[in-house]
């Protein structure tokens, strides 16, 4: 099991799978870091984005990677609207209400998809779906390598927004000190909505990178939620570098854990890490100390 020929591809595979997880976690960590919302609707939103990529391909023939400039703004708009006019309004700022609202949203989105698109699993076929790239004896699928690059790019873009733009500064201010931000004239509701929008925009990108190698049906999002939460906690809530690093680490742990303990029991590694991080280093690898 420790032979290089098995371990190396497994690690590479974990890194690329982890990249996709990171893409999903990037949005979640922003939403948590800024709004302190545990977004139960994140999986359902991913599902909605995947359907978006699917239909763009099936109906308009748009390649998933070329769909990025469509999906990102579309998901951003959805996120902005949801936070500004649904979540923000309904929750009255209370934890348990936010929980219920995002849960309710998840139920609505999932069943709307069921009603509109039926329960069939849908896949797309692209020229590069089965293309692989040999790396030192390991055969890695091309869509996953693209996803890896995509994750790095997205993280970079997010960091740029956070630290180089006024919006980024406003977001960081609201995350740190909501009342203070309001006092200096920042429209907190608008900034929160922008943050949620960016969070969902990340999902739009994630969907573009995920769809070629995966599939979509109304319940597909549920399989990613727990992993996304684990990565957010491991990386540090609110840290993009953390989400990236966390994604890679969890991807590799899942992969290698699967090799050693079997795919079913191997999943336990993820949650053991989750618990350990929460207990011993809750700010995560890169998060600020509470």
């Amino acid at each position: 099991m420790l032979e290089f020929s098995i371990l190396f591809p497994s690690v590479l595979n974990g890194l690329t799978t982890g990249a996709v997880y990171a893409l999903i976690a990037l949005g979640l960590t922003l939403i948590y870091g800024v709004l302190h919302i545990i977004n139960f609707a994140h999986g359902a939103a991913l599902m909605a984005a995947l359907y978006g990529v699917y239909f763009l391909h099936q109906l308009l023939g748009i390649d998933p990677y070329l769909a990025l400039p469509v999906m990102i703004p579309a998901m951003f708009a959805l996120g902005y609207a949801l936070q500004r006019w649904v979540i923000g309004v309904a929750s009255h700022g209370k934890d348990e209400n936010i929980l219920l609202v995002t849960l309710g949203l998840a139920i609505v989105l999932e069943n709307l998809a069921l009603f509109l698109f039926k329960s069939d699993t849908r896949t797309i076929d692209t020229a590069y779906t089965f293309t692989t790239v040999p790396i030192l004896g390991a055969t890695i699928s091309l869509p996953k390598i693209v996803a890896f690059a995509g994750a790095l790019a997205m993280a970079g873009a997010l960091l740029a927004v956070m630290h180089r733009t006024d919006l980024g500064r406003a977001i960081r201010a609201c995350a740190k000190e909501r009342q203070g931000a309001r006092l200096v004239g920042i429209d907190v509701d608008h900034v929160f909505a922008m943050s949620f929008g960016i969070g969902l925009a990340c999902l739009g990108a994630a969907a573009c990178f995920l769809m070629p190698a995966y599939y979509v049906n109304p319940t597909v999002g549920n399989g990613f939620v727990l992993i996304a939460f684990t990565i957010v906690v491991l990386g540090g809530m609110g840290s993009f570098i953390g989400a990236l690093a966390g994604g890679f680490i969890i991807g590799v742990v899942e992969s290698v854990g699967g090799l050693w303990l079997g795919e079913s029991l191997g999943q336990i590694g993820i949650f053991v890490i989750f618990i350990a991080v929460l207990l011993f280093r809750p700010q995560g690898l890169f998060g600020a100390k509470a």
Partner: protein, 326 residues
């Protein structure tokens, strides 16, 4: 005292139901509503009164259900003997999770997420070991007689779940009126201040999670005796965890009747929307989700909040977002 009368009046009313209601469907509806109320009340003790929200309450439920299953199927125990052991297992898991989490000062979202992680760990373990039946799950032999803790009539199960709900109600009433309950609520409202006043926050929270765990495990006991089959997904999956927190939040957390009212409302909503399904699966649940969101929008303190006076409203603040660690 008035509260106690209320609980017993409720119990008496429901106990009388089998004499007036012969519809199996209606009796089953009452049973499942009470079941949801039990789960909700268990959650409410830790979440509403203790202020520690849990996203993985299934971890206690599944433990109770599996304990019942394993003791009967693998060890041949009598169900009546197994039941209190199962509840104790729930409390033990509560002690473990609470002990670890509270010792490391986990609060707020961090605590919520750690319970979620524990539930998943237990699910994976249950799926792995032969003695819990692994993926195949556990099936309790059908042997309907009161001696086996199985009942041929719905009424039998109704009394069983009613008893458990009454116990949960009494426990909650006691929380509301006892000194321990005052400590717990003080810890919920402001742990540091409570500690400064001499309350041992750790012990108080630990007791709460153990009580909550035991009651939730009782829900698991009921489930497996009623439906006879359990598998890792049913036992430890997100379904039960979500079900446990929906009723109290909708009804009003931190109150004695919140989970019961929430359970009734959600059940009626569920059945009501079911009829909308027609030929298009999914529509009914879209409506259900929308109503849920609307309920939160217009009843931010839960249904009970509508009936509370302003003074009472101000007297029961809820958990705050923010720092998740001591």
């Amino acid at each position: 005292m008035r509260g106690l009368i209320g609980i017993f009046a409720f119990a008496a009313a429901v106990a009388a139901a089998p004499f007036f209601v012969s519809s199996g469907y209606a009796l089953n509806a009452i049973i499942m509503t009470l079941y949801a109320a039990l789960l909700g009340q268990a959650w409410n003790i830790l979440g509403g009164f203790g202020g520690q929200f849990s996203f993985g309450h299934a971890v206690f439920f599944g433990t109770g259900a599996y304990a019942m299953g394993v003791l009967q199927v693998k060890f041949g125990w009598n169900a009546w003997a197994a039941a209190p052991v199962a509840a104790a297992c729930g409390a033990a898991v509560g002690a473990f999770i609470g002990g670890v989490s509270f010792r490391y000062g986990l609060r707020g979202s961090y605590f919520a997420l750690v319970t979620l992680a524990f539930a998943e760990v237990f699910r994976i373990l249950a799926n792995t070991f032969e003695f819990t039946g692994a993926g195949v799950g556990l099936m309790i032999k059908l042997n309907e007689s009161a001696a086996n803790f199985q009942f041929a009539t719905k009424a039998g199960y109704l009394y069983l779940i009613l008893t458990l709900v009454v116990v949960a109600q009494l426990a909650t009433w006691w929380l509301k009126h006892s000194r321990y309950g005052a400590w717990l609520q003080a810890v919920r409202d402001n742990e540091e201040s409570a500690a400064a006043l001499g309350v041992n926050a750790f012990r108080v929270k630990l007791a709460a999670i153990m009580i909550s765990g035991a009651l939730m495990a009782a829900g698991g006991v009921f489930y497996i005796q009623y439906l006879h089959y359990i598998d890792p997904h049913i036992a430890y999956g997100p379904g039960v965890s979500v079900e446990a927190l929906l009723a109290p939040i909708v009804g009003g957390i931190g109150t004695v009747w919140g989970p019961v009212i929430g359970a009734v409302v959600l059940h009626v909503l569920g059945e009501g929307t079911r009829g909308l399904m027609g030929d298009a699966p999914g529509v009914n649940l879209v409506v259900y989700g929308l109503v849920l969101i609307l309920m939160v929008m217009f009843l931010p303190r839960g249904i009970i909040g509508v009936f509370q006076t302003r003074a009472a409203r101000n007297a029961t603040p809820t958990a705050r977002t923010g720092a998740g660690r001591a």
